[in-house]
Symmetry: C2
Subunit: 436 residues, 2 copies
């Protein structure tokens, strides 16, 4: 049985109009059998996300304050939805249940999850499909740790007997029934795990943007969307700061080779971005991303290479300080270590001291303010002229290069520039490659 | 007192004509006070190097064979020199002394050193300068290990009282008087240590080529010489296979900041190449070199970065197998290790096995046949357009790029290409940068 798992984000569920649009989309393809919903988000009419309001309620309740004014807003939002969509479900009973859950002293995460819980019940009623509680599928072994094996077993066992189903995103339960939520990735990860567990044909992630853009729209206005992409490309771009699905949400489907399509409910005819294992080659460069605020440590030591353990000793200093090393460009008598500045808070002096102690460099310098710009495209490094275009583009834009590297994966070129040149670099590269 | 240490190579001392040229050069600048000589080398008239003939004598003698025929050739060569240069020294006494040294069962190294010993005595006589035996200056703590501290002390103490001196290159003595030679660098290292010990103004290295060439003349016919260069540039080029002074010979002067000038006795008016600490910027690119036969190991492992010790563990495998790692280009979920193939003889399977065992990669591949082409120029990486030119040049020459890296030192760009493309890459880059 062909099965598409569709996940709809909060902005696609903000009001009755949005619910109607979702229904149209779902009904348009009979393979769309599993719908995952977030909690209703912001819209022109609604200034708050339901989840944020629930968190406020939980906070007030746990401190012993009244939360009824805020809760009433949440309740009214769901009441209006039922009214406008002419739903038959007993909304007052549902609202009471959630209110009692909050007042019973449930954890903040547990309270926050009730937005998805209610939303999914409304959507199930609206579509005329069964509601399957995420608490019965997603088993957490602790507040933060999912028991993946058992979760997949339950998804297979309990969900595959249903031809259609609506599942709330974002949460699961521990073995004692206590609710908890995914720390990173939210409802996206729910959909991804369902798609993987059901061996779905496709995981559709419906948002309010027409797919992934070739560059950050804050830097490049009207950046064009990418039609096709591979998982390794996605990962490279997302690691380097592109706003895409949270990594944990991509992992289950990329691991099982299920394609992911990111589409916009506002443009349901638009194919959005299709991400798959091997992809369809559309352009030379798939995307451009940038991450700022790296710091470079440079060690100079003559005949460094004769000490075969030099690099290992150097890396062990960063490891023991729990700092992830981004890269280690190596010269003949020098080596640099690139790390993100944020990891170094309160550790810089200690690391400098330890590097001096264990590695005895003749010279040790450190420089902040490096931005890493990544140009991603499957196999681009082997394509004649691509590297030339990258550097000609940067030269024409008057950008000084501090560093060049290229991932071992042959799908990206990494260029280090000054923080303040980073945006111009992205803009220049976008202009160069957008037409290809 | 300004002092230039001049070292003359074997081809600059092959016959009487060459001796005359050396004298002219030495006398042309009164600051040239210390002359270091190699043993007479090959020339049109002389098919053998004196050193090689001495080694043959030593070999024959140690096996109990007669060596007089070969020794007579050596003797005659020095006799002719004395005759043609009208020297007054007792050449027969010198020849006898060396003959007895060989027949006494001295080591091969000790016998080989007698070429420099005799040559320096002739040169001292010809210039009218004192001969200072290297055995009294260069103290070895073992057959291969120089006692640098004591050597510098002796150079300062014994040599600085002489206004002029001729010193034989290549050898020194252990504390019991046994002669031994420098394993790498030969007479070049003698001159370098003398220059450093005497805090000379300049170390002149006179050869038969007009300085260092911008690219290997075997690849680029008529490659032009470089006028200026810095020590770090020299080191980068020499490490990457450019034929220049042996590294051990450069180290003493580069460490003390004494400039090195490489000049040709055939073109004494030509300034050759001047290498100094900071250099004089002449062109954007100083030189281009290539080293072939590297092997790349590529590991893929999802979420590799979450294991902060991953890279360290990987490097420790190579370290424990005593393999020097050239570089570690790092991607998001993958890392490559570049090592020279020659180091891997008999170790490849073991290393692959250990990498699998300690690092648990999802995928481990290895590929031979990588050549590393280096483009060297101080500060070039920050210069607008240089990187663009490098890659445009390679693209126009139809060369596929396998890897890009850039030394942490900002003075080079390293490009990995297939072995078979390496020469075309050097030629293309030379054409691009020769005019700048």
């Amino acid at each position: 049985m062909e099965r598409i798992v569709c996940k709809f984000g909060g902005s696609s569920l903000a009001g009755a109009q949005e619910f109607k649009r979702v229904k149209e989309i779902v009904k348009a393809d009979p393979r769309r059998r599993v719908v995952v919903v977030s909690a209703p988000g912001k819209s022109k009419e609604e200034p708050f996300k339901v989840t944020d309001m629930l968190l406020m309620c939980a906070q007030l309740a746990s401190a012993g304050f009244r939360y009824d004014e805020i809760f009433e807003q949440i309740a009214n939002r769901f009441r209006s939805l039922c009214l406008e969509l002419e739903l038959s479900l007993d909304i007052e009973k549902l609202i009471d249940e959630v209110n009692q859950h909050i007042s019973s002293g449930a954890s903040a995460a547990s309270c926050a999850s009730r937005g998805e819980y209610m939303c999914a019940q409304l959507m199930a009623d609206y579509l005329g499909w069964p509601f399957i509680d995420a608490a019965d599928l997603f088993l957490f072994s602790s507040e933060t740790e999912l028991n993946e094996e058992e979760t997949y077993r339950r998804i297979k066992e309990r969900l595959s007997s249903f031809e259609k189903a609506v599942v709330p995103g974002f949460y699961g339960a521990m073995s004692d029934g206590t609710l908890t939520t995914f720390r990173r990735g939210g409802s996206d990860i729910t959909g991804s795990l369902l798609a993987a567990g059901l061996e779905a044909t496709l995981y559709e992630n419906w948002t309010d943007v027409p797919g992934l853009l070739m560059a950050d729209p804050k830097i490049v206005k009207d950046a064009k969307p990418m039609r096709y992409m591979t998982y390794p490309e996605l990962r490279e771009l997302s690691y380097m700061g592109a706003k895409v699905l949270q990594e944990d949400a991509v992992f289950p489907i990329s691991k099982t080779g299920i394609p992911l399509q990111i589409r916009s409910t506002l443009l349901p005819e638009d194919p959005g971005t299709l991400i798959s294992e091997n992809g369809v080659q559309s352009g030379v460069v798939t995307g451009i991303a940038v991450k700022k605020n790296f710091r470079v440590f440079t060690l100079e030591k003559t005949k460094m290479r004769e000490d075969k353990g030099f690099l290992r000793k150097l890396l062990s200093v960063f490891e023991s300080n729990r700092v992830t090393v981004e890269g280690t460009p190596t010269g003949i008598d020098s080596v640099s270590v690139i790390v993100s500045e944020e990891q170094l808070t309160g550790k810089l002096d200690k690391i400098m001291e330890e590097v001096r102690m264990y590695c005895h460099p003749q010279r040790l310098t450190t420089q902040p303010g490096l931005a890493l710009v990544v140009v991603v495209g499957k196999g681009m490094i082997r394509k004649k002229g691509v590297a030339a275009k990258v550097f000609t583009s940067l030269a024409n834009a008057d950008i000084n290069i501090r560093m060049i590297s290229q991932g071992s994966s042959e799908l990206s070129i990494l260029v280090g520039v000054e923080n303040e040149d980073a945006d111009s670099a992205v803009a220049a590269l976008y202009e160069t490659f957008k037409g290809e």
